[in-house]
């Protein structure tokens, strides 16, 4: 496959990894089964809060086939709280209480599913039989379940040593909101709740560890988004040098955020292998995954927007509560994303935002695809819709009046982002994105006519159209090493893990362009610390930006080396050479050429002198660290049909206009958007973690936790706008999460539009919007309840965001 202009970046290159994935040959951790491996199951707490008074593992230990049962008492120096992986940004007035979990419960249970004992046995079956024999004497404690009440003076405490369940308090401001409010023509205030769910990767977590006492080395296969940092923590914890520990994140069956976390199992499994002298394997099952893997959950917002009568935003004020779960190992990434992403592509001269983070007796909250950004987008876009309604402006018109124009970029929002730098928009064309989406969905003329016709036929059809700006591609850095081998093969190693993003192809395209080979010629290795051991991981929509530009730089260096060696070999000036078809050749005289393999041989001679000061081989390693994150943006439009009798919603059309800067591979970008939108549809309409009043999760299975399936996700249309980022040589911005971020906001607007005549004034303020919730809203609307808020949910009646 070749392309006019000889450039691979930008081409729809079929993915290098697909043959292995589609023929079942791709290796996942579950496929790794070293001879003699023992299998682990954990005995976990069914209660969300309690005091562990005693643990009797005697009958589990003597159960046939059991090799060992470990409890907190057996862990020795490993029994210490985990690290705070992401410290909070240095903000003035910041309150942050770091609390992290022990690897196994010692005396206090703070969420359902915390591990009490680790059972190592001949098989997972036997291990589970023995886990059922572990007798835990637990004194139940009152759990903190309801976020709205978590900070109340009478709430039970998740951590006894803290005066309340307050985990953090952050306030960031820009301009003078109070003054802006005073001169506003319209001030609109609403309470919003937004709930996110699990990551829902098809592959649960899994760890296989093999201690080789003879070689004094530890090999670990781990489904992680961050193999290098996890390797480093494990090595340090076990008293090993980093070089003794090899972490392999082979194909990873979905990450979506939770696999960026460091988990106790990642250290307990290697530790058990060293202790028992046997390979040890643990594969999390789906039930465990609902408790033992991190998730995202509720925020409650009290938000207010101040506008002129022309619909121009004067300012926004938001105070919100964020549920952190039992611990806060990932710092404040999620609520800070919410705080920053709320501003969207809009001119917001005055902003006052504060949040409080609460500990609850629920599983731990860390980023899940979108990572709090969708909460902020929902609040802002809903405020604009409702304000527009008051002012007689339709949703697109009020957005037209407020989006930042191309001449207003770059734009500094002055508050601090999750990467500890000011929130700056580097580039984009927000007006064009909005107009393009409106045009594609025929917003101004054709659609309204169709909507009227449908209404005449008794069908409730509506459209929603919303914007977002997403901070992506943050630092600190990633690296890549490229080697041209004597056989002509090109090898690329990078430290990021891969979970389906198409790294084996998009990174290969970057290399192919630089040194004149095809992407299929480039063998990419990711997530193996023996191949590359510097880096942080795959998260925050940063792979193509940070690793991509490191690889770009390494490829340029290798290109220079190739040209230098080729110029010598062909006795020409390097400027007269071009690289194509796997060789260096003289421009205009393609017969004068030398192939890359031959150059690799001459660059690494077995005899003779290498010029002092040069390096052997055609190889280069480069790193890239951006000054601050790039900002991608987009507009989503959705058309829905609502059956007002059954409250069921059908998505008729879904359209995404997006700008992630330079597109390396449109097919991969579209795949990312499709997956993101599917996740967003789940978030908006299907997925919800349900806890009973005792804090027990009621729907820890895919029977009751509803992920959208192929029949629930419509075909998704995409349109690309490419505004290259000025912050990196490739001009890329991240795209991994964007698809998921604005879906709920678009969905809510579309449902309201569809029901505009049947239920005028209906306001959707809570996500997810299940049919049951929509039914309750419609019924309340008919019965004249103002705001139509569902009456049976106590958390929604509590005074919200703990504003002083």
């Amino acid at each position: 496959m070749s392309r006019a202009g000889g450039t691979w970046v930008g081409a729809r290159v079929p993915r290098n990894e697909d043959v292995r994935l589609l023929t079942g040959r791709a290796q996942f951790v579950e496929d790794v089964e070293p001879p003699g491996a023992l299998h682990v199951a954990f005995a976990r707490s069914d209660l969300p809060a309690g005091r562990l008074r005693g643990l009797d593992a005697a009958s589990a230990r003597t159960h046939p086939g059991v090799h060992a049962v470990f409890t907190a008492a057996d862990l020795g120096p490993l029994l210490r709280p985990g690290a705070v992986l992401v410290p909070p940004p240095p903000l003035e007035g910041l309150v942050f209480h770091a609390r992290t979990a022990l690897p196994l419960v010692r005396d206090r249970i703070r969420h359902q599913g915390e591990a009490l004992a680790m059972i190592v046995a001949e098989s997972r079956y036997v291990a589970e039989d023995a886990a059922a024999l572990v007798e835990a004497d637990i004194e139940p404690l009152d759990p903190v379940v309801d976020l709205g009440r978590a900070l109340g003076a009478d709430a039970p405490r998740v951590h006894d040593d803290l005066p309340s369940n307050l985990a953090a308090h952050v306030r960031q401001t820009k301009g003078d909101y109070a003054a802006a409010r005073a001169r506003a023509d319209l001030v609109l205030e609403r309470r919003f709740s937004y709930d996110r769910g699990i990551g829902g990767a098809i592959e649960n977590r899994a760890v296989v560890a093999e201690w080789d006492a003879g070689a004094d080395r530890l090999r670990v296969w781990d489904t992680t988004q961050a193999p290098i940092p996890v390797r480093n923590v494990v090595a340090a914890s076990l008293g090993l040098s980093e070089a003794q520990v090899r972490f392999i994140a082979p194909f990873v069956g979905g990450g979506f955020g939770p696999k960026i976390m460091f988990y106790a199992e990642e250290i307990l499994i290697p530790w058990a292998s060293m202790r028992l002298g046997r390979p040890v394997k643990w594969v999390e099952d789906r039930y465990e995954n609902f408790f033992a893997t991190t998730q995202e959950r509720s925020q409650l917002h009290d938000a207010e927007i101040a506008l002129t009568r022309e619909g121009r935003i004067l300012g926004v004020r938001d105070a919100f509560l964020h549920d952190s779960g039992a611990y806060d190992p990932y710092g404040l990434t999620v609520p800070i994303n919410t705080q920053c992403t709320l501003l969207g592509p809009y001119r917001v001269p005055n902003y006052e935002s504060e949040f409080r983070v609460a500990f609850t007796n629920k599983p731990i909250v860390t980023p899940v695809r979108g990572a709090g950004r969708q909460h902020g987008v929902f609040v802002m876009e809903r405020l604009l819709d409702l304000a527009g309604r008051e002012l007689g402006l339709d949703p697109v018109e009020i957005r037209r009046r407020n989006v930042l124009g191309p001449d207003e970029l770059p734009h500094n929002h002055e508050i601090m982002y999750q990467d500890f730098t000011p929130l700056r928009y580097d580039s984009g064309n927000y007006e064009r994105s909005l107009e393009e989406a409106a045009r594609l969905v025929c917003y101004d003329e054709t659609f309204p006519r169709g909507r009227e016709r449908a209404r005449a036929d008794g069908c409730a059809i509506g459209v929603g159209l919303v914007n977002y700006v997403e901070g992506t591609g943050i630092g600190p850095y990633e690296g890549g090493r490229i080697t041209v081998e004597p056989g002509g093969t090109v090898r690329l190693a990078t430290g990021v893990g891969t979970q389906g993003q198409g790294h084996f192809t998009s990174f290969a395209q970057i290399v192919a362009d630089a040194i004149g080979v095809t992407p299929a010629d480039v063998r990419v290795v990711t997530g193996d610390t023996s191949e590359f051991h510097w880096g942080t991981g795959t998260f925050a929509s940063r792979g193509a930006v940070v690793a991509g530009n490191a690889i770009h730089a390494a490829a340029r260096s290798v290109r220079e080396k190739i040209l230098r060696h080729a110029a010598e070999a062909l006795e020409v000036d390097p400027a007269d050479l071009e690289l194509a078809g796997g060789s260096a050749r003289v421009r205009g005289a393609p017969d004068l050429s030398v192939d890359l393999g031959a150059l690799a041989v001459s660059a690494n001679p077995l005899r003779g002198a290498v010029e002092p000061g040069t390096e052997p081989g055609l190889e280069a390693t480069s790193y890239f660290g951006p000054p601050y994150g790039t900002t991608a943006n987009g507009t989503h439009a959705v058309v829905v049909a609502v059956d007002p009798e059954t409250a069921m919603v059908e998505i008729l059309r879904y359209l995404v206009v997006h700008d992630c800067g330079t597109v390396i591979n449109p097919m991969i970008v579209e795949g990312q958007i499709h997956g993101g939108v599917a996740a967003g549809i789940g978030n908006a309409f299907y997925e919800e973690l349900v806890f009973d009043e005792f804090g027990g999760m009621s729907n820890a299975s895919f029977m009751d936790y509803l992920l959208p399936t192929a029949t629930d996700v419509p075909p998704i249309e995409t349109a690309h706008i490419e505004t290259p980022s000025p912050l990196n040589p490739l001009g890329t911005k991240g795209v991994g999460e964007g698809g998921a971020i604005p879906v709920a906001a678009a969905f809510a607007q579309a449902v309201e539009d569809a029901l505009a005549q049947i239920a005028p004034g209906l306001e959707i303020l809570d996500i997810p919007l299940s049919p049951a919730r929509l039914f309750a809203l419609l019924r309340a609307q008919r019965e004249g309840v103002v705001g139509g808020r569902e009456a049976d949910s106590s958390s929604r009646r509590e005074p919200a965001a703990g504003v002083p």
Binding site: A132, D285, Y287, Y686, T709, A772
Partner: protein, 298 residues
């Protein structure tokens, strides 16, 4: 999510299965398609000591015509067979219409009609549909004190079979061997519909209806049953009576739908409140009864 240890018996004949079930000193469960039982084993919600696998019993997989022209489905007939059998489509179109709503193709390929009925799940489609069709179940056990291979059989009307959620008239030593339905009469129309969160999910509510109209367009007989409308799969006799002797006009059907909703006893769960379920039952009853009547008239 691994099952605890259990003994396993692969029965090749009904008698072998009955023999195993007859020994009630060992808690034994028949294994049919396993689409409910195996997840329950994996969650350790069911902990039987022994499973009797029925999958090797050929005689249970037949679809036959009964002497009175009705239909007999062997207990191990798969949902997928019902879905695609042209004979069924001709004779009992309601079964063909409703079967695609049962879970997903993979589950329908394994799941069986006998397993579904014996499981007595009020949220399952098939029991409600079979109730509407006036089905009865054939039940067998080994005769007490008799020779091995001697059977006692009984027939129970489906209306008397379901006793509570996941609780039926089956005794521990009994096996459900077949389901029988009377032939459909001229002038009959049937329909099924449900509202589910996703295609293949358990329905928030579902309704099956059968109406028979005479040549004057007046309803002679009606049966309506609900999915997830009460503690058991349930026949809504009172609501059905509001149709009998009436022409199925929109007003009559609306009254039937209202009666159906009023006399239903749906439960609240995380997916739907009781009020929402009741409302859906009314909407679906109206739609389904209208469609069933239309099918007679056209």
């Amino acid at each position: 999510m691994k099952p605890p240890p259990f003994d396993y018996v692969a029965a090749a004949t009904v008698d072998e299965a009955l023999e195993a079930l007859a020994d009630t000193s060992v808690e034994t469960r028949p294994l049919a398609g396993g689409q409910s039982l195996v997840p329950m084993l994996n969650f350790r919600l069911a902990v039987p000591e022994r499973l009797v696998d029925l999958n090797g019993i050929d005689e249970l997989s037949r679809i036959e015509e009964t002497e009175d022209g009705g239909l007999r489905l062997g207990a191990m007939v798969r949902h997928r067979q019902l879905e695609h059998d042209p004979f069924i489509a001709r004779r009992m179109p309601l079964l063909s219409e409703a079967t695609p709503f049962i879970a997903h193709p993979q589950i329908r390929s394994r799941g069986t009609v006998g397993g579904s009925v014996a499981h007595a799940d009020p949220a399952a489609e098939l029991p409600a549909v079979l109730l509407t069709l006036g089905a009865r179940v054939r039940i067998a056990r080994r005769s007490l004190g008799g020779e091995p291979g001697s059977r006692v059989e009984r027939t129970v009307g489906l209306g008397e079979f379901f006793l509570g959620p996941f609780f039926s008239a089956l005794e521990p030593d009994e096996l459900l061997t077949a389901i029988e339905m009377p032939p459909s009469a001229p002038g009959e129309g049937t329909a099924f519909d449900e509202v589910a969160r996703r295609r293949g999910d358990y329905a928030l509510a579902g309704v099956a209806a059968r109406v028979r109209l005479n040549s004057g367009g007046v309803c002679d007989e009606a049966a309506i049953s609900l999915v997830n409308g009460g503690a058991t799969p349930c026949l809504m006799r009172e609501a059905a009576r509001t149709l009998v002797g009436q022409e199925p006009t929109p007003e009559v059907i609306e009254a039937t739908a209202a009666a159906c909703a009023a006399t239903s006893e749906p439960a609240a769960d995380m997916h739907a409140s009781e009020a929402y379920r009741r409302h859906l039952i009314q909407v679906l009853t109206r739609r389904v009864v209208s469609r069933a009547a239309d099918r007679v008239l056209t």
